[in-house]
């Protein structure tokens, strides 16, 4: 595969189909632009793309990331100090496409900077740069109508979240509104690697799967090691690893790429 055969929601669907055909979950690293430098983050993402990542959640920094734990807080704070803006993140995706990164890329960022940029302009510019989807952790579907419409018009995925606290009514609302996939938070809390995932995870996922139908589920929060990736492999269509990769990134791109490669290998070992 040397060129992108599909974009937006279709590219994300193709990613899950390919992983499923290989009998595994899709692996989506989270990495913020500007950590530890802009060049360093691009190098890390490009390297992970070559090391077996299936898609990316590209972090855009915000001054008040209230869904994030200390590792991502510190990294995105550094990114802000490095002058990273929403526009800079869109341009980073364009740059990565130029470097030959073909995997789906979703921009993840808090709402206020996107409002300041202008939702319509943001969706249009992101689409133009090669972005396939949007993740906004402080935008529940109840407040998301305008974004749902903008993303639908642009064929971009708009990812919403479910959590262990979600009631059946919430599960139905989120599965109704989300496109691309549902980001299933594995535990109550903020982002960050955990030594253990909750015991009741399987039961919770089974309930969500029933409601979600064909919409893929992607598990996130707390997953940081190849062993954990192996444990949750095939439980959901995909999973996200964030803080563990970000923590590895403080020493440059090489340790990030190495950890991503280990995780990618772990889910291919049967």
């Amino acid at each position: 595969m040397t060129t992108r055969t599909s974009t937006g929601v279709s590219a994300i669907e193709a990613m899950f189909a390919r992983a499923a055909s290989e009998g595994r979950s899709a692996f989506l690293p989270y990495f913020p632009i500007g950590w530890p430098t802009v060049a360093g983050s691009l190098e890390a993402i490009e390297g992970m793309a070559a090391a077996g990542a299936d898609g990316f959640e590209i972090g855009m920094p915000f001054s008040d990331p209230l869904a994030d734990g200390p590792v991502i807080q510190a990294a995105t704070q550094k990114a802000l100090e490095n002058g990273v803006t929403v526009r800079g993140c869109i341009e980073a995706v364009r740059d990565l496409r130029g470097r030959g990164v073909l995997q789906p890329m979703l921009l993840m960022g808090y709402l206020n900077p996107l409002l300041a940029y202008g939702p319509q302009q943001f969706i249009s510019d992101a689409k133009d740069a090669g972005v396939d989807g949007i993740i906004i952790p402080d935008l529940p579907p109840d407040e998301g109508e305008a974004w749902v419409n903008l993303c639908a018009q642009a064929n971009l995925a708009l990812v919403f979240f479910l959590a262990p606290t979600s009631t059946p009514a919430r599960i139905n609302l989120v599965t109704d509104q989300a496109t691309g996939f549902i980001y299933v938070v594995s535990l109550t809390g903020v982002t960050g690697a955990r030594s253990a995932l909750p015991d009741e995870l399987e039961a919770f996922l089974a309930g969500v799967k029933l409601a979600a139908g064909d919409l893929p589920l992607v598990l996130g929060f707390g997953i940081g090691t190849p062993e954990q990736a192996q444990r949750i492999n095939r439980l959901t269509s995909g999973f996200i690893v964030g803080s563990a990769l970000v923590r590895a990134g403080k020493d440059g791109a090489a340790p990030v790429i190495a950890l991503a490669a280990e995780i990618a290998a772990a889910i291919r070992n049967r």
Binding site: S63, L115, D138, D142, F161
Partner: protein
Amino acid sequence: MNMYIQMGTGNGPDERGYFGEFGGRFVPETLIPALDELTLAYHEAMADPAFQERLAFLQRTYTGRPTPITYAARLSEQLGGAQIYLKREDLAHTGAHKINNALGQALLAQRMGKQRIVAETGAGQHGVASATACALLGLECHVYMGNVDIARQQPNVFRMKLLGAEVIPVASGTKTLKDAINEAIRDWVTNVRDTFYLLGSALGPHPYPMMVRDFQSVIGTEARRQIVELAGRLPDTLVACVGGGSNAIGLFHAFRDDTDVAMIGVEAGGRGIESKEHAARFSDPSVGRPGVLHGTRSFVMQDADGQIMGTHSISAGLDYPSVGPEHAWLRQTERAGYTAVTDDEALLALQILSRTEGIIPALESAHAVAEAIRRAPAMPKDSILLVNLSGRGDKDLDTVIKALGDG
């Protein structure tokens, strides 16, 4: 029947928590069910006479309500204009209006069976009020407080500890109130099943702006009755300081349908609007624009990229980059007006009130006093200006000594 509180739920918000275009719920999905549960429990509690009676009983026998209204005779005479009255929330237990809301929410937490309380604090007044209410009701209390605020509000830090609360320093971001709220929300999202978030101002996701307003509306309900008793009629103008805006909304709410009563909210002008070192979300349109922070859509101080800006005020309680959504709505509908007072003006007002009336106001409340001092001389002698004296100044003595020493 209780005569001390009359919980107003009129004039918004709508079912989704919106006051016009402001408000809402912009929080991670994990918290939505908790907010639904809280909204339901709140409505049930408010409809339960036993809950209302318990709250009224504690307000009367514990907080010391009703707090009086004081006629500021010497100040009024010196200014030569409007007759100035002070609503004395500084005389409430713990020395500020914050106890009204803390007690209400702590009772609600107890009713909901939540034993663990988290709270944020800026000046420390809400932290002290929360720690106090938790001690009274036997609840476990954890208070997040920015390192900058810990340094400038030491007496309140010690008070919270004496009251049995854990004070958790916050070293992220600007290390002030906004970051303390971030950390409190992170704690809540982690421990949501057994934890109650006791938010201290009329901001955050629905139902907080409504709930905090309702628990604070006792201020205006009392004041409206008292001013008629004391002065024979309603005031012409209300003045209150606005950080998040809970004391102001608490005073304003009972007067919302009295369209002849003007309402003035006073923001922190810091070192002056042009200095950019302030917390004047409404008064500086170059940085204050509608946006989303801490779960609600309101006016937010932000840069061109939508990053939240650091703020400055001599008073920790006003040092916050957003403002309660109902204030944004009151301003948009022109039911209330908003202005700003600088650090220096507030310091001067603190000294003037201390010398003319024997009342040392909190630096937050001194902003409202400064606006009254600015406004009164141009008003007729038979006009009435009612100032919410939201807290007492004891906690600020270190700051004041330092500021006056430097001057």
